[in-house]
Subunit: 547 residues, 2 copies
């Protein structure tokens, strides 16, 4: 008996034949999706639900949650972000059992409960790039649900500016004899541009309402504090300037928004325009508008888009990556790659231990980290050099290698106390408790201490990569940990010694007058100011309009 | 005066209008390409020439070398692989000046001369993923030349199985108002599938002959030596088995071909089918055929294709990533990513120093490393676990971190002497001399010693990740360096001590009878055997047919 080598392609043909009557060619009506899924899916299937940071195949996901668990069960869901209730309903109803994912955000508490109850069996928690990689290795989807703005009669898809994960999901599925189902907001005669060719798509359905998009990159300048402005000044003068950081990624949050908003004022006064922050790998955060308008940022490649920024991005095609149709093409895989190989990542966290390991994991939540571990880790496969990379490499205390090497700048920017006066600096991360509670293979660390080069707090900058020993690194961390218990327990002499070496720098060591750290430095003090900077092109979502 | 924000789009419109008369819509005849390029290109333009490992936009590159340097000069070429004479002619003729690239292979000597002569100014030498990343950062092409199998009247492109870098090149160019020119082998009424949508493509030209493809992944089993078979046995029994290596990347060469060819014999006899080597990120190397046919390898995602393997790959769609049309879709970006996040990379090198740093760089050549540094480096952004990754992490001598972590297996497999009895083990890599000679920022190291976990020679395996100090690592390396000067200078007591700890393992320590390491173990002893294993589907290029 000779072995069959094309069973997946045969199986696809059979499934498509089986459901043929429910579709008109590739087109399925919204009302037929549940019966179609019941006829199409088989127990144990690996199903990829497009759940990006922002864009969600929400209608298809809700339909999946409605199928009969007696017919469709034990699915293996692969999904980068779980954000909606329906994403977990499929587990609660027994339709799905196994889960491989990246980030769960607000669903983290419910997910933790479902795991404890044995309703979800977690394969692994990934970073984005890892999960996309596994679509081409051992987590190839049998069926994928994706979301797009429009489709034409043939099934060509236009994603609009939120292309995000779609190319990776579709390529992994369509080219291993899988089935791709797209929900679209509208069917049009001709799509503005083709983001996914029709022959990669099996079914198209016009959803009853447009797919859900979350505006997660909007920060209101009104909420930026003077402490954040002081830290932003230190980052610019103490890191961006000496390292000449041109290519970078900013995390999301008010800390990095503060940096963006003082580029046109503070960094301009230092003569840094054209010298720092020229190329960014980020989403189109509205707080970037003043830095773009004043000529700091030259080019931005985006992982996804941001609600309200569509027209502004279209009118700034020299800066953003837009299609011939005018709208942006984002791509999370390439943006994550670009950020990984950039010279610097800066972001914030909830907890840091005395080795510099940091995590946003908190007890009773299974959340994951999305892209941060990828941005915030040494790019050891990098071989091209830059001033920043060579300088950081040359300064690094040597480990067990004498070979000269470059190094990525990985910066964490935190206030010493976070909400409810919880200290940011801890003897032991909650991640270790979480590991025990959920029987994880490793503690969920976001950024490892030995990947971290700089720590910035309101007390100063610690140049951790220059510390030769764990004990030195510990004192450098304590030395900027302020009035937290970890900060108070510092060895004062050791800290002063580190300061003498320039491993710890206070604002005054950097020539920064802390009294100038006021909101007057912000190029925009409100959302309305951002709209003004954009010449009216930025159209903020209602919840951010306070006028 | 208000700033212009869409200058690139305006410039593209102007250029397209300027050359309009030379094209019929998007279609250009071969004879018009030189005048078209002369009218289209401007001095200083950044031009990306698709030069993959295998597929080359050779006709467009040859046309570029013919333009008038008085009109077109000082171009900045970005190109992953330089393989053809015309790729360097453009520098010799003064048409181009600056170069960012990954790999130059056989052109390395000529390139070195052109650099010395000041005809080429090298920006940087990259790994593949880094260069693709920079297409979205600071090396975005203004004009890109790509190669495809066919195009339709609209300009939709079908790449055939050698998709390779095309998606990355085109996306980076088309979405920053750049111009994409595709050379194709044929114009057809309907492409078998759409690999690049027409609206991403500016011009299409049918080249006078099919684009050049290099068969670089074919290794004739007839040339595999018994030493290579012994090393392959050690790799399987000493590494793949205990670590249960399921997801991996093989470098190219006879060493890894030997592993592939004894999977169906030796690994089968150890009961390892279904336990190792299930998921691979490699090109469709013909020496993989017996391992596929005997059920070892379940899935392979490819960076590119290999000449002669087309029909075999088409008939094995359960294993390869094929399109609905039947032919393979390769993708170097995703394949490199998948390999980076896999559990193991194994490859060979020319020189290794006593810290374990290795390089294939040789004097008077500027060659680069392509993808090896990316495959062969720790994936510090990885957060999902596997048995192999956790075991390697747990065994690793801790650096300056106490936080538990996983680790990628990075293996170098070398004979102690290479061609002309040159020792593989050296006190100092030629890379350091090369750095001096060419004034490079860093020595061109392919794989750094602190990323390397295992070294395999005919004398044994050194588990380098378990060495706590540089001195211990040095003795572990000397301990498998055979009769080379480095090997002879070993501290015998230290080496025996390492062997007692299992850090060094000889074949007999692994229960391997070296007398069984004969060519009888090879599942295929010749190219003809491979054809037979494939049921006649593998169609080797003429130069490999010796019957």
């Amino acid at each position: 008996m000779s072995r069959q080598w094309n069973t997946l392609a045969d199986d696809r043909r059979q499934r498509l034949a089986r459901v043929g009557a429910l579709a008109s060619g590739k087109h399925v009506t919204a009302g037929e999706v549940v019966p179609l899924l019941e006829a199409l899916l088989q127990p144990g299937d690996r199903v990829c639900i497009e759940g990006n940071n922002q864009k969600h195949a929400d209608f298809l996901s809700a339909c999946l949650a409605q199928v009969d668990p007696a017919r469709v069960h034990d699915l293996h869901i692969v999904q980068s972000n779980l954000a909606l209730a329906s994403h977990l309903d499929v587990f609660e109803r027994g339709i799905a059992r196994k889960l491989d994912f990246c980030y769960s955000g607000e669903q983290g508490v419910r997910m933790a409960r479902l795991i404890k109850d044995g309703r979800i069996e977690v394969g692994a928690i990934h970073t984005y790039l890892e999960l996309y990689s596994r679509y081409f290795v051992d987590l190839t989807p049998r069926v994928a649900f994706v979301a797009a703005q429009s489709a034409d009669a043939e099934g060509n898809l236009y994603t609009g500016p939120n292309t995000e994960d779609t190319p990776a999901v579709v390529e992994g599925t369509a080219f291993k004899s899988g089935i791709v189902i797209a929900q679209v907001n509208e069917i049009v005669e001709r799509v503005p541009r083709v983001d996914v060719p029709a022959d990669w798509v099996s079914f198209v359905v016009k959803a009853p309402k447009p797919h859900y998009i979350e505006p997660i990159f909007t920060r209101d300048p009104a909420q930026i504090s003077e402490i954040q402005i002081l830290m932003a000044m230190m980052v610019i003068k103490g890191i961006y300037d000496p390292y000449e950081v041109r290519r970078l990624n900013h995390g999301i949050g008010f800390d990095t928004a503060a940096i963006e908003l003082i580029l046109p004022t503070y960094a301009e006064s230092l003569g840094l325009r054209g010298k720092i922050c020229e190329y960014m790998s980020v989403n189109p955060c509205p707080t970037l508008i003043p830095a773009i308008e004043s000529g700091f940022v030259k080019s931005i490649h985006c992982a996804g888009s941001e609600l309200g920024m569509e027209r502004y991005v279209e009118q700034r095609s020299d800066v953003f990556f837009n299609g011939p149709d005018g709208s942006m093409r984002s791509n999370r895989a390439f943006c994550q790659l670009a950020g990984h190989y950039a010279d610097l990542f800066i972001g914030s966290t909830l907890q840091i231990d005395l080795e510099g390991n940091s995590s946003t994991a908190t007890l009773n939540r299974i959340a994951g980290f999305g892209g941060a571990p990828n941005f915030g880790s040494e790019s050891r496969g990098r071989r091209h050099s830059s001033h920043a990379w060579l300088k950081a490499g040359a300064e690094s205390a040597s480990g067990i290698s004498r070979m000269p090497r470059g190094r990525k700048l990985v910066v964490q920017m935190v206030e010493t106390f976070r909400e409810k006066m919880q200290p940011t600096f801890v003897e032991q991360l909650d991640a270790l408790q979480l590991q025990q509670d959920f029987n994880l293979d490793l503690p969920p660390v976001m950024i490892y201490g030995d990947d971290l080069t700089h720590l910035v707090t309101e007390e100063g900058i610690a140049h951790l990569h220059r510390c030769a020993t764990l004990r030195e690194r510990e004192q450098a961390i304590r030395g900027v940990a302020g009035y937290t218990p970890a900060g108070l327990a510092r060895d004062r002499r050791a800290v002063e010694n580190l300061r003498d070496q320039g491993i710890i720098q206070r604002p005054e060591d950097l020539g920064i007058d802390a009294r100038l750290a006021t909101r007057d430095l912000l190029a925009a003090k409100s959302i309305k100011d951002l709209v003004r900077w954009s010449g009216g092109l930025y159209d903020p979502p209602k919840r951010f309009r306070h006028w």
